[in-house]
Amino acid sequence: MSITSPEKYWWKPADLQEKVWITIAILWCLVLSVMMPLWHIIGTQNPSLEPMKIRTDDYRAVSDAFIEKYKVGEESGIPVVEPPANSDVYLRAQMWNWTPILKLKKGVNYKFHISSTDLMHGFSLMPIVMNFQIVPGHDNILNITPTEAGTFHILCNEFCGIGHHTMIGKIIVI
């Protein structure tokens, strides 16, 4: 019984069924283990690969400068920005909005720098459901190429205070 001590010598060979099951399980574990590094080579969608910290004041300054330079309008009090192709894009998470609203072009690569100037936030791109943790003091760097046109929304999925559920951003791809 599992509530009493086993016999004195309990190190005994497993029987056939156990061996078969464990072998299958080990093979499956190996397949899983190989998959993740392999995807870095053959896949295209990976989390941020560039380690980078950034002071929140610096981040606020650079994203403000970015907004001022490429601003094309305003919507719901939030600036609308149209950055050029292949440029650095600064998307700032703050209580409780995603600034700015971005206008991007389909098939063009952008280097996103997403960070926060206050608390942690959760970047959640809808409706395709891609999620990243946004941490103040760290730059979440993602190379993004939009592959279809349309309006995308960004939810916040990390609790960031009482207005958390109102925090929504927008990306328009043309």
Partner: protein, 511 residues
């Protein structure tokens, strides 16, 4: 102290039950039930708020009660019960007196004071920071102090467990190796020591930061070490739960492990590698390298997953062998159909195993891959995953065990045996619906920790695919059923412990 050595002999198992151990198991288990009651009321309120058709609480109360739900369930209910389980596994199963019962009482008081401080802070709105309390979101210093006191108390409890193992060995109260259940609980206690140490490493600086002694804490570093506590505490649950599956197997059908080597190897793999899984929370974080993510999130080549796969074979196999020995040999499945489905322990064990493995475990392995985490991180699907593991798995196993602890250790006859028998079925159905609802809505992008998935107040208009609302409704219905099951559990166990008929010293009856 003479009464430290006072004991009775269990008429069913022949084990020595020391009075001091019995009292400590009693107080820890009863306290655990008080916290599941608080957490359960919170569960009802937040589920009814999350359901757009009801939307019960205002936002402030929702976030406050959600914080309370997480802490009371994930930490207080489960850890108090585990401490009771550790004392049982070391003292009762090894026929040994408990090492230092007075220190164990001191540990209990530290844990209780910590838990009460945390609850006061959360309910008065001074610590609406969620279970994870990510810096720079700040709570009242007393909140962090409460967590530290609780963790120190639990750490001392683990020390009592290891001390008792040493006492039993020195006084030769058992021969040869530890019983498998005690070995499994040792694995849980080892995991717990690492876990609680991580808690100390992160909460002490956080406490100093909250009173202004430390100026800056890096949020990403906080997440790294916090999840060494937050996720690894769930690995204590997994390991304790698996030990309890073996225990319930023994109590309900007399199951004996088919091969001790195989079962123990699985526990050793847990000890060595399961704590690496804290990485699952950090996969979409900035700065951390893919190498760190891949090595850790794979539990070192999935060796801890291999351990779960081994237990998933070994436990039903042991039950099958035991049943076949009793003569239930017809066809492939007579052993299963003639199993004791009419007493609470067996269905609790089987449902716990199925929900843990098929809902909690598989989603955990899938969401815990570096790239797929992008699809699930911080969505409600994650909430569905851990309701499969911690609620459908651990909590259900603990509930099933309670119905045996009451007659065996507390010597009280159960009140409402029919309710107790129905309870695992009701709870399992509820949690399954809840987890599926959360998983479905989360896969479509519904965020976790969110007051209003209809986004009525949002600055930029947005609405979900209507399927999200459908799945949310399913989850809410599941929550109602599960809360009913939880209420039956609390009712039966509290009534039985306080008002159940006292059993005669030699009464050899479980249910």
């Amino acid at each position: 102290m003479s009464n430290e050595l006072e004991f009775r002999t269990c008429p069913i198992t022949g084990k020595k039950v020391f009075k001091a151990t019995q009292n400590l198991i009693w107080i820890n288990a009863v306290t655990a039930v008080v916290f599941i009651l608080i957490g359960g009321i919170m569960a009802f309120l937040i589920a009814m708020t999350r359901w757009p058709a009801v939307h019960l609480l205002p936002a402030e109360m929702f976030y406050r009660f959600l914080t309370a739900h997480g802490l009371n369930m994930l930490i207080f209910w489960i850890v108090f019960f585990e401490i009771a389980g550790l004392y049982f596994g070391a003292s009762v199963l090894l026929n040994s007196r408990l090492a230092a019962p007075r220190v164990a009482w001191f540990a209990y008081i530290l844990m209780l004071v910590g838990a009460i401080l945390v609850n006061i802070m959360v309910f008065t709105g001074k610590a609406t920071v969620m279970f994870s309390s990510y810096v720079p979101l700040k709570a009242d210093p007393i909140y962090y102090l409460g967590i530290i006191l609780f963790a120190v108390g639990a750490l001392i409890g683990c020390g009592i467990f290891f001390g008792t193992l040493a006492v039993a060995k020195a006084e030769k109260t058992y021969e040869g190796s530890l019983p498998l259940v005690t070995f499994g609980l040792s694995a849980a206690a080892i995991i717990a020591v690492y876990t609680l140490a991580c808690g100390a490493i992160i909460y002490i600086p956080t406490f100093l930061w909250s009173i202004g002694i430390i100026e800056n804490l890096d949020g990403a570093m906080y997440r790294l070490i916090f999840w060494g506590l937050g996720h690894s505490s769930q690995q204590i649950n997994v390991t304790a739960m698996v030990s309890i599956w073996y225990l319930l197997g023994a109590l309900t059908v007399g199951a004996t492990p088919v091969n001790e080597k195989v079962c123990r190897t699985a526990f050793v793999l847990y000890i060595l590698f399961i704590n690496l899984a804290a990485e699952h929370h950090l996969l979409t974080d900035p700065t951390l390298s893919p190498a760190h993510k891949i090595v850790n999130t794979s539990y070192m080549m999935y060796l801890a997953v291999l351990a779960s796969m081994i237990h998933a074979l070994a436990i039903p196999m042991a039950a099958e062998v035991a049943q076949r020995k009793k003569g239930f040999t017809k066809g492939m499945f007579e052993w299963l159909s003639k199993a004791p489905w009419g007493e609470p322990g067996f269905p609790a064990m089987i449902f716990s195993l199925i929900i843990f493995g098929f809902i909690g475990g598989i989603t955990g392995v899938v969401y815990g891959t570096e790239q797929l985490s992008i699809k699930s991180h911080n969505t409600w699907a994650l909430t569905g995953h851990f309701h499969g593991t911690v609620v459908g798995g651990t909590t259900l196993a603990f509930m099933g065990l309670t119905y045996y602890v009451i007659p065996l250790i507390f010597r009280r006859e159960l009140i409402g045996k029919k309710w107790a028998t129905a309870q695992p079925y009701i709870f399992a159905i509820g949690i399954t619906l809840l987890a599926i609802g959360m998983g479905g809505a989360g896969t479509l992008g519904s965020p976790r920790r969110h007051w209003d998935v209809t986004f009525a107040d949002a600055i930029i208009p947005f609405s979900f695919d209507p399927a999200v609302i459908l799945f949310t409704t399913l989850a809410a219905i599941g929550a109602l059923i599960a809360v009913t099951g939880g209420a039956i559990y609390v009712g039966v166990s509290v009534l039985s412990v306080f008002f159940g008929r006292k059993m005669a010293p030699n009464e050899a009856k479980i249910l």
